[in-house]
């Protein structure tokens, strides 16, 4: 009898130990998550907060998330008194064209790489990886000469071409990897059902690959939207500025950095990205290919 009692006690103690351990683990896990989330969210909150301040109240020494006299002055100035709309138009032009051009070139290229065998396919694929080892700015000197040669310096389309060139290698690989996961049977079924190679690609493979294509488009959009260095070199005249350049030049117009203006423009600049993400997200769901073949 007594040893059963002992055993029970031992189990109880052990159970307590485990549950204490688990509790500690649970608390520390969540604490870490909260700290990480704060670290990510804080700058965004700070920018939003800064954009609502007046020029003078920003430099207070006290840490206040909600500014004492919140005002939309900065937004008003950015929207109605700066060249915001020109920059937005330029940015949209560059990003949409870049994303479109990347898709237009990368999708068929990746499809060919995934489905067909042809001369020097492997060297071609590996050279795409190798290109990415070269720092982008190193290549930029060559790009710069090319732009001048073709008369595309200080031209938004020149910028589109450079972005596309930078984005293509990665996206071709990315899309190829995605196409590789789609069973070849369905292209072949389409070919037999009367579609040409292009038909099979457009009617069957691309629609099934929407998640992969959406990732490519979103990634290209994001990169082109945020890019600063190349744009600052290629674009000279003010009417060609994209938003990142505008943001930078905004600081140079005054003696001191006008943080509320800077913040307001930053907040406004991030809105299109959020919208694009919300649209793309619908197509980012994976698993569209389930059900094609036996399952």
């Amino acid at each position: 009898m007594s040893h059963i009692k002992k055993l029970r006690q031992r189990i109880a103690v052990r159970f307590q130990k485990i549950s204490k351990k688990r509790l500690m683990f649970g608390i520390s896990k969540n604490l870490l998550a909260i700290i990480l989330e704060l670290a990510i969210i804080f700058p965004i909150i700070w920018i939003v907060s800064a954009s609502l301040r007046s020029y003078n109240s920003l430099l207070t020494t006290t840490l206040q998330i909600i500014p004492p006299n919140p005002t939309l002055d900065a937004y008003y100035w950015v929207i109605f008194q700066s060249s915001f709309w020109t920059w937005l138009r330029n940015s949209l032009f560059v990003t949409l064209f870049t994303a479109g051009l990347v898709l237009l070139v990368a999708s068929p290229a990746a499809y060919a790489m995934s489905r067909f065998t042809f001369l020097a396919k492997k060297p071609l694929l590996y050279s795409l990886v190798f290109i990415q080892f070269v720092p982008g700015l190193l290549m930029f000197i060559a790009f710069f000469y090319l732009l001048i040669f073709f008369g595309l310096y200080d031209n938004l389309f020149g910028l589109v071409l450079i972005y596309t060139a930078f984005l293509l290698p990665f996206n071709i690989w990315n899309l190829k990897a995605f196409f590789d996961t789609i069973p070849k049977d369905i292209d072949e079924a389409a070919l037999i059902d009367g579609a040409s190679y292009l038909g099979a690609m457009f009617y069957v493979v691309f629609p099934v690959s929407l998640p992969g294509i959406a990732v490519t488009a979103f990634f290209s959009f994001l990169t082109a939207w945020n890019e600063f260095i190349v744009a600052s070199i290629v674009l000279a005249s003010e009417e060609n500025y994209t938003i990142p350049i505008g943001l930078y030049r905004l600081n140079q117009t005054t003696y001191q950095t006008n943080w509320p203006l800077f913040s307001a423009l930053s907040v406004l600049a991030s809105i299109p990205i959020v919208i694009v993400f919300m649209i793309a997200q619908r197509y980012l769901r994976a698993g569209l290919a389930i059900g094609a073949v036996k399952g």
């Binding site: 059902d193 094609a292 073949v293 036996k294």
Partner: protein, 371 residues
């Protein structure tokens, strides 16, 4: 509706693998031909060559008398059912079935009409709005079939279409498939590794092994008169028993001397053997199907051979008895009522008019006279 002709077709893949070797195959109009063989025998490659998904290294392919060797798949007027079904996952069932018609630019009204009629004939009308992923295996199979028959193609190609179904459904679909093919009267070429499927479905079976056509004949003939040892062993369950030995004349008769025992050949078998063969002491393989072997508790030494029961498989309708005769083990079929015990001494009669003799070296038949 058309006949199909493969004229000395060879397909060699990169790296020197020869999947199909010098194949001559003629499929008549409205015929149901099954390509049968173990995996890697070249049967699927043959089908893909006919579909135009592969191009032959040598030889020509004709469909309906027209040379199509270098014609792209979409211009061959064929339909194919894939082992994986290969339904378009982003389209509804009705769009899946309509796809071949859309690709051939049929008018909208006709498409609608044909899709609904086809769906009705395959009893999938209630599924038309669903997506492939919402269907069961059997339903997907029907949709794949519907997509193939909707366009009235010249030739149906089927690549193991039943292999992903469970056993019961497979038997059911087998019968329906055969009926459908007879009703539509479309030339059909069907690939399988399942010999039961081949025997039940085919007008003619083409057995392939290592890329080479072994025999091309109606199922009954393949079963009764296999051309070589491979065909004899591949068709039939349980498979044919093979006993190796030497032929020796024995008066008017011929005897097979195996290791530790001998078998008197059936007089009918003797007649099929050429005269010269009887006088030579030739190394042969004697083949006899399990169902042609008789088992008994007692027997005469002249025709019967003594053995020991090695094991018994009870199948319900019949018992499969494994018998050890000296160093040879054979399989025989006994009625379900006969229960033999392991280790029991029994007699088996291996003399049968349906037995086969094969040359040990070339493995070719010595007895099958026809084809």
């Amino acid at each position: 509706m058309a006949d199909v002709l493969l004229e000395n077709v060879t397909k060699e893949f990169e790296g020197g693998v020869v999947a199909v070797k010098d194949l001559y195959l003629e499929v008549k109009d409205k015929e149901f031909v099954v390509l049968l063989g173990p995996s890697g025998c070249g049967k699927t490659t043959t089908l893909r060559l006919i579909a135009g998904l592969e191009t032959p290294t040598r030889g020509n392919i004709y469909i309906g008398g027209k040379l199509v060797t270098n014609v792209e798949p979409w211009a061959r007027d064929i339909a194919m059912v894939f082992q994986s079904y290969a339904l378009y996952p982003h389209m509804s069932v009705s769009d899946n079935i309509a796809f071949p018609l859309k690709m051939h630019k049929r008018p909208k009204a006709e498409i609608q009409d044909r899709v609904s009629k086809t769906a009705e004939s395959l009893e999938i009308k209630q599924l038309l709005d669903r997506r492939p992923r919402q269907l069961s295996g059997g339903q997907r199979q029907r949709v794949a079939l519907a997509r193939a028959i909707v366009r009235n193609p010249k030739v149906f190609l089927m690549d193991e279409p039943l292999s992903n179904l469970d056993a019961k459904l497979r038997v059911l679909m087998r019968i329906e498939l055969k009926k459908l093919q007879k009703r539509l009267g479309v030339t059909t070429i069907y690939v399988t590794h399942d010999q039961t499927e081949a025997m039940t479905l085919a007008d003619r079976v083409a057995i392939q092994f290592n890329g080479v056509l072994q025999q091309y004949a109606p199922p009954t003939e393949i079963f009764a008169h296999p051309k070589n040892r491979f065909v004899a062993g591949f068709v039939g369950t349980p498979p044919m028993n093979f006993i190796e030995g030497k032929l020796k004349p024995w008066g008017n008769l011929v005897m097979l001397e195996a290791e530790g025992f001998s078998i008197m050949l059936n007089p009918q078998l003797n007649e099929q053997l050429g005269e010269s063969l009887k006088t030579l002491s030739l190394d042969v393989t004697y083949g006899i199907r399990p169902e042609d072997i008789e088992i008994s508790e007692k027997g005469e030494p002249s025709e019967w051979v003594k053995g020991e029961v090695y094991g018994v498989e009870l199948l319900g309708s019949q018992n499969v008895v494994h018998v050890q005769i000296d160093k040879t083990r054979i399989v025989a079929i006994a009625p379900a009522t006969k229960l033999y015990q392991m280790g029991e001494k029994i007699w088996v009669k291996l003399t049968s008019s349906r037995a086969q003799l094969f040359d040990k070296e070339t493995e070719k038949t010595l007895t099958s006279s026809s084809s």
